[in-house]
């Protein structure tokens, strides 16, 4: 059965659609937010430009999913600018801060994330909720370029001893957080049985590990083999529980919104010049 729009949904279906869209939109939004830190800080002018392209694509995708949430009466203000930070549903992978100059991190993180995104979005091409299925193609179109970018960089970095050491360090640090991409929300069961996303996250995780483990292994990297339950970090993101990096990021990106909207600038805000932890 196809669900054509918000009007066709019962409460359980609607909650499932909203939960799925929030995960998708929030992942993209926060991913982009972090990527932009590399603008004018990459290893070459060309990489500054490439990273800006990717960040803008991801912001465009965030809008693609947030637009569908607007169909349920939300607007950008309550979806982003005035939303409680604990109500964001992105995975912890995308909120983690970067170390200055650690180019291995965005490259590897981008690879892990884009591989996940492709699998999840492909699964949504069969979504029972037509507006989601309709947007799959647009979301997938640009991902090919992102994966190519990440592949090329990973290959180049891993040909060098220091480069590979850094990618390995990023992998050890990020892999547990990447597994939170597949952490369920409290609506996972409804998402699957209503056909909003016919493939369960556990299945997507299995496919993802089958892709990333051999590829990274072929670059001479050691990929964690333990079961996800053993590797997962304490904060899972999808349940609203985030790592400490999230609050400061949230305060930074809402800084101007707050400043423009209130009678006086809120106290205890970071100085704008330092707000993004300038190296």
């Amino acid at each position: 059965m196809t669900l054509e729009g918000p009007g066709d949904l019962d409460d359980r279906e609607r909650a499932a659609v909203e939960a799925e869209l929030r995960c998708l939109g929030d992942d993209e939004f926060v991913t982009a937010e972090r990527y932009t830190e590399w603008q004018v800080r990459g290893p070459t002018l060309e990489s500054d430009i490439a990273v800006a392209n990717i960040a803008q694509d991801e912001l465009g995708h965030a809008r693609l999913w947030y637009d569908l949430l607007e169909g349920f009466g939300h607007d950008q203000v309550d979806l982003i600018w005035e939303r409680d930070p604990a109500e964001f549903r992105h995975a912890t992978l995308v909120e983690r801060p970067y170390e200055a100059g650690d180019w291995a991190d965005p490259v590897l993180r981008g690879y892990l994330y884009d591989t996940y995104e492709r699998l999840r979005v492909e699964a949504l091409s069969e979504s029972a909720y037509a507006p989601i299925a309709d947007r799959v193609e647009k979301a997938l179109g640009e991902e090919e370029y992102h994966r190519e970018h990440a592949h090329n960089w990973l290959e180049r970095l891993c040909e060098d001893a220091e480069g590979r050491r850094r990618v390995q360090a990023a992998l050890d640090r990020l892999f547990p957080h990447a597994l939170t991409l597949f952490a369920p929300t409290d609506r996972e069961e409804a998402v699957v049985d209503t056909g909003v996303r016919p493939v369960p996250l556990s299945e997507l995780r299995r496919e993802w590990r089958n892709v990333v483990t051999p590829f990274l292994g072929s670059l001479g990297l050691e990929v964690p083999v333990a079961d996800h339950a053993e590797l997962l970090p304490a904060a899972r993101g999808r349940d609203g529980d985030h790592t400490d990096a999230w609050e400061s990021l949230y305060n930074e990106f809402t800084f101007t919104y707050e400043q423009l909207g209130r009678e006086s600038a809120p106290a205890l805000m970071p100085e704008p010049g330092e707000a993004d932890a300038d190296v």
Binding site: E33, T36, E37, Q39, V40, R41, G42, P43, T44, L45, E46, D48, I49, A52, N53, A55, Q56, L59, G60, A62, R63, Y66, Q76, I80, W81, A100, G101, W103, R156, L157, C158, E159, D160, A161, E162, G163, R164, R166, P214, F215, G217, S218, L219, G220, E252, F253, F255, T256, Y257, Q259, L260, E263, P272, G273, A275, D276, D278, V279
Partner: protein, 313 residues
């Protein structure tokens, strides 16, 4: 080609890589284009924090794209400069990071908050546009070619800057006050954008003689004021009492009282010695140093111990 011939033949887009240009010409052109390229990169440094601090998705996308464009302009300009055979792009980027490279005075001052953003995105970019538009007729063809693309994209930036300005200017009374404060802080720097009067300009004469520069600083400043003083007024901004700027209707000319401007600070900035500018350069140096390992890794990979055993796919 000797210098006399260059001066005689100079005209819009007259010379290119196929011409054998005298060293003086190539050095002067390099100095000018390198300065421009450096300014694009350092302008991007000033604006980048506002990608994160943008108050809506549209603004965030636009500021990100703008910062990206500026890096792209830097890339184009370094290429145009490289073709003069004086310095490579790497050398110019190294000079920028080491504090030897020079760039526009306004990019030596980081912005405090969103209220200051239109000072760069509208007024400074508007001033830059005035200058750049005249460079479509510069005699070094690769420079003019880069300028075509730059002007096209800058047009969008200024529109976006004006939109930010309009939003703040039509906001609350407090917003308008903050905007006026930002304007008063930036206005003297903006007036100094075009440098001192022609008499004090060090390189203007030669650059004009060989067609690299096509309009004097005074004329550019005046053209800018003609266009932007009314725009400032349109958005409710009041020109501060000092520095005095007087309009002479008879000659349609804005007189800027240069003695009201702090030229000592201007020349300290120009030497990269003003503390805020030195801080911006230091940021560039540190961010570049932090990613040096990546350039080393791709330029001369150390393959010891790297044997992708399972690379059979």
């Amino acid at each position: 080609m000797d210098l006399e011939t260059v001066k005689e033949q100079s005209g819009p887009r007259e010379f290119g890589p196929a011409d054998e240009m005298p060293r003086e010409y190539r050095e002067a052109a390099t100095r000018m284009i390198q300065f421009h390229a450096n300014s694009e990169i350092m302008g991007a440094y000033i604006e980048r924090p506002f990608i994160r601090q943008a108050p809506s998705l549209d603004r965030k996308l636009a500021v990100s794209a703008q910062v990206q464009d500026e890096v792209g302009h830097g890339q184009l300009l370094y290429r145009a400069a490289e073709e003069l055979g004086i310095k490579t792009r790497e050398e110019m980027l190294d000079e920028l990071a080491s504090g030897e490279g020079k760039f526009l005075n306004c990019f030596h001052y980081p912005l405090d908050d969103w209220y200051e953003l239109p000072m760069i995105m509208f007024f400074v970019d508007g001033a830059a546009m005035r200058r750049q538009a005249t460079l479509k007729r510069t005699s070094w063809e690769p420079y003019a070619h880069a300028i075509d693309k730059i002007c096209f994209e800058e047009g969008f930036h200024i529109k976006h800057g004006e939109d930010i300005l309009r939003t703040i200017a039509t906001g609350s009374r407090r917003d308008r006050q903050r905007l006026q404060e930002a304007f008063e802080k930036w206005w003297p720097r903006i007036l100094q954008f075009f440098g001192p009067t022609d008499d004090d300009s060090t390189h203007g004469g030669f650059a004009t003689d060989v067609g690299l520069k096509t309009m004097s600083n005074d004329d550019l400043r005046n053209a800018f004021l003609n266009a932007y003083v009314p725009k400032a007024e349109k958005y409710g901004l009041e020109l501060p009492e000092y520095p005095r700027v007087e309009y002479h209707a008879d000659d349609d000319y804005y007189e800027v009282y240069e003695e009201d401007l702090d030229w000592e600070e201007f020349f300290t900035v120009a030497k990269n010695e003003h503390p805020t500018g030195a801080g911006q350069i230091d940021k560039r140096r540190r961010t570049q140093k932090a990613v040096e390992w990546v350039r080393d890794a791709i330029e001369s990979p150390d393959t010891t111990g790297v044997s992708p055993a399972a690379a059979d796919d």
